[in-house]
Symmetry: C2
Subunit: 478 residues, 2 copies
């Protein structure tokens, strides 16, 4: 059993990779910049998907599937869009043994091809709104790949909606931002700040981009989900027109929004410790590992295993799914067996030893705090249920307290520079500058504006000195 996880303080980047390796979440693929999502990592992604998908459906969205390949001529129809994405595209030039007349891009995102289809499907105001989501793979060629955070291929969902009015489209953009905030906080236990992006950080082709920003345990920021309001930019580029209630031809108002397998990177960096992964109970594929333990392998296998299986079946019934796992690695040492579940981030470990059987108790160990409880048999099920809720709440509160302890205010640009250099974390400052100012700040400090805080927080810009600037979070980011 490998326990060689580099401590965070020693080398945070190596710690991150070690956690992924020890938990068998992912592996580098033999394709430049691409990853393989291993079963443990993929089962977390399946749970994340299920949570978001349920929220999308509750808010009236349906799923569909659009093609992987996009004609380059489509990308070129929206000037900012092609400028933003073409340099990152992978290109298919040959197929079926022949050179193609027009090369295709492997989709980096699907606004263009979906816009084209919407222009064919939408005729009247009665066809609106169109509320479609797609779960898919996308490619954006990465020079410096990093598992889950930046890979040349990743999995995501992209919602694409078309509306009658500007107001409806804007409401949709904010509705989905709120769905993201709520789901990331409630299910992944990651506190996020939801707000608008500054002009320099907008999605190529968007009128406004909104984001959920999370703080990792090295105090850097990570963009965990974005929601874009396109105005009529894509509708005009792809002629998404409809006959309005007055019988006139009008352009639709469109949005898009997405979260990706990056969320698993966030999950690792927000919650895990020097022993490895910690998964919040609500998205944990295994919520409790049950270990029959004895020095005598045959006692463990013959006497204790049936009791472990019985407990597992009862708990699964109570939890409403196959959420427990009985560990039968009797050939391994108990310490190694404990460590296997620890490194995989299983929220609870239930130990059933000979002594526990004799005393009619089960030893329960929490992954988040390491706390050990000896619980009477009859109290095991309610205790497990309560502990899972406690762990979920504790993980969220712990991450929130960490974020708050690492958020600072800067009254001037010098102060911002000093905080970023000395303390890191999130820095709140009034900002009303241009994209050029954002570039200068990034070059001088390494930090970027992560999002404008919602609410009417206004003051004097630390860069331009102008009044009425918005309170904005700056941070170094992944």
């Amino acid at each position: 059993m490998a326990r060689n996880i580099t401590p965070r303080k020693e080398n945070y980047s190596q710690w991150y990779l070690d956690v992924i390796k020890a938990a068998e979440l992912a592996d580098y693929a033999p394709v430049r910049g691409c990853m393989v999502i291993r079963p443990t990592g993929y089962s977390i992604w399946e749970n994340v998907q299920a949570k978001f998908d349920a929220e999308f459906k509750k808010t009236g969205h349906v799923n569909a599937y659009f093609p992987l390949l996009i004609p380059y001529s489509f990308l070129r129809k929206e000037a900012e869009h092609v400028e933003g994405f073409a340099p990152e595209c992978a290109t298919v030039t040959h197929a079926g043994g022949e050179e193609l007349e027009e090369p295709y891009a492997v989709r980096p995102t699907s606004e263009t091809v979906i816009g084209y289809m919407y222009s064919k499907w939408i005729h009247s105001w009665r066809d609106l709104p169109v509320l479609i989501n797609q779960w898919a793979n996308v490619m954006r060629w990465e020079k410096r790949p990093r598992l889950f955070l930046r890979t040349s291929e990743f999995l995501w969902q992209e919602g694409h909606t078309a509306h009658e009015t500007e107001q409806e489209a804007h409401e949709e953009t904010l509705r989905m931002l709120e769905v993201y905030r709520r789901t990331i906080e409630n299910e992944l236990a990651i506190p996020v700040t939801a707000g608008e992006k500054t002009a320099g950080e907008r999605f190529p082709g968007a009128v406004a981009t909104y984001t959920c920003e999370a703080m990792m345990s090295d105090t850097r920021a990570l963009q965990a989900g974005t929601s874009h309001f396109f105005g009529q930019n894509f509708a005009k580029a792809f002629e998404i027109q409809y006959q309005n209630r007055e019988g006139e031809l009008a352009y639709c108002w469109t949005t898009s929004w997405g979260v990706s397998t990056r969320l698993i990177g966030a999950l690792i960096m927000v919650h895990s410790d020097d022993d490895g992964l910690i998964v919040p109970p609500r998205i944990a594929p295994v919520k409790a590992a049950i270990l029959p333990i004895s020095k005598d392998e045959s006692v463990a296998a013959n006497d204790i295993l049936p009791k472990a299986k019985e407990l597992s079946a009862k708990l699964d019934e109570e939890l409403g799914g196959m959420f427990t796992k009985v560990d039968t690695d009797f050939h391994a040492r108990p310490g190694d067996r404990f460590f296997a579940h620890l490194q995989r981030g299983v929220p609870l470990r239930l130990e059933l030893g000979e002594k526990d059987i004799a005393t009619g108790t089960v030893r329960i160990v929490r992954r988040d705090t390491g706390e050990k409880l000896d619980v009477k048999n009859e109290a095991v099920i309610p205790t497990v249920k309560k502990l899972l809720d406690d762990i979920q709440a504790n993980m969220f509160e712990r991450a929130k307290a960490f974020r708050e302890a690492n958020t600072h205010d800067a009254g001037s640009y010098d102060e911002l520079k000093a905080i970023i250099e000395e303390k890191g974390g999130f820095v709140r400052a009034y900002f009303g500058g241009t994209p050029e100012d954002e570039t200068r700040i990034r070059e001088e400090t390494g930090a970027t504006p992560r999002c404008i805080l919602p609410g009417d927080n206004r003051g004097k810009c630390i860069i331009t000195g102008q009044d009425n600037a918005r309170l904005t979070i700056f941070a170094k980011a992944y």
Copy 2:
């Protein structure tokens, strides 16, 4: 409301496309040979996925995700495999603005790249079996595309397993064939014949390929799912080795198995009629459409709609999901509203008119038979539940009877030729010939051996005259 579905007898191919269009299942994409799966089609695929995924998990499999791109050098490691797939591949030659040193194929199937990863992950017999499935998109460039049946990109699942022994791998191949048979029959209501493929029809690189063959309503065959036993072919090509129980290095035995969005093509061609799609209740996204109806729009919207919503909520609770849909298209004529659900294949239509309200009944119309029932309010829920079961069973039995009525025996090659030409359908004949014989039969009759019937049915080969040939189904196929 478009009712222009070409009758099957007039033009079966056009009928198929018309059904897809009327039900809004799919559309051609602006990428050669590719399709867009529209929300109605995709929701059927989601249900199909859920049924299969549950079966895979019950049989101990887990999901993972492997890269979209495959180095060409990988494809070349298995001689038959590269010969079979390279001509159909789409090729990525450029990425991130540069020409790649080695071009990548967009995966046509993933044995090679998964084999490579398995060689890294598998060390000891304790790591076996590895039972992984992947849900993904794949590309095989099609010269003559056909929605759902042959598209250059399609969605599928591919299971890839590695085992200690030949016997275990062979058992896995047959276990998954049986999972396919059972799921296709029970959930999609499509009767299939499960058996081995002849040598000429094997998957490139397989030692044995097994298939589920279904009969479409024009009596042609369609391969609905395949399961392959690879022996040690891929293990040797990719050095998937493990230390066995005796401490020696040994090659694994591997399998793969897959079903795809082709199943939706099968679903359409097995069950639908000249009015459009018919979806079996167990995989229907909408199991019952509820229509408040009145000549007076305001009566429908104000007086009847609340009763329809109440019934919908009760039925959803009873059916365990959001399976009913209340139709509020009051502006449209009743006939057009009926047709909208008819064309989408919704199993039951529940009409709530003023007369029904007065008499305390609901009119229920079956999609499969057109039968109309006036049911007392208090009996609606049990009647709907019973009718959904009846429709599922009836659709299966009807398709089975059709297949049996169109299956014939041929005692000689001349007889086979005559049946294929005059009647079509499945033809059972003893066959023990070579792949060259298969080619000759295909060129002379248009039919191919679809599968060898299971069981010990042996007799004299209609081609070679040799004894001990296996009873084999021949048919023209999609």
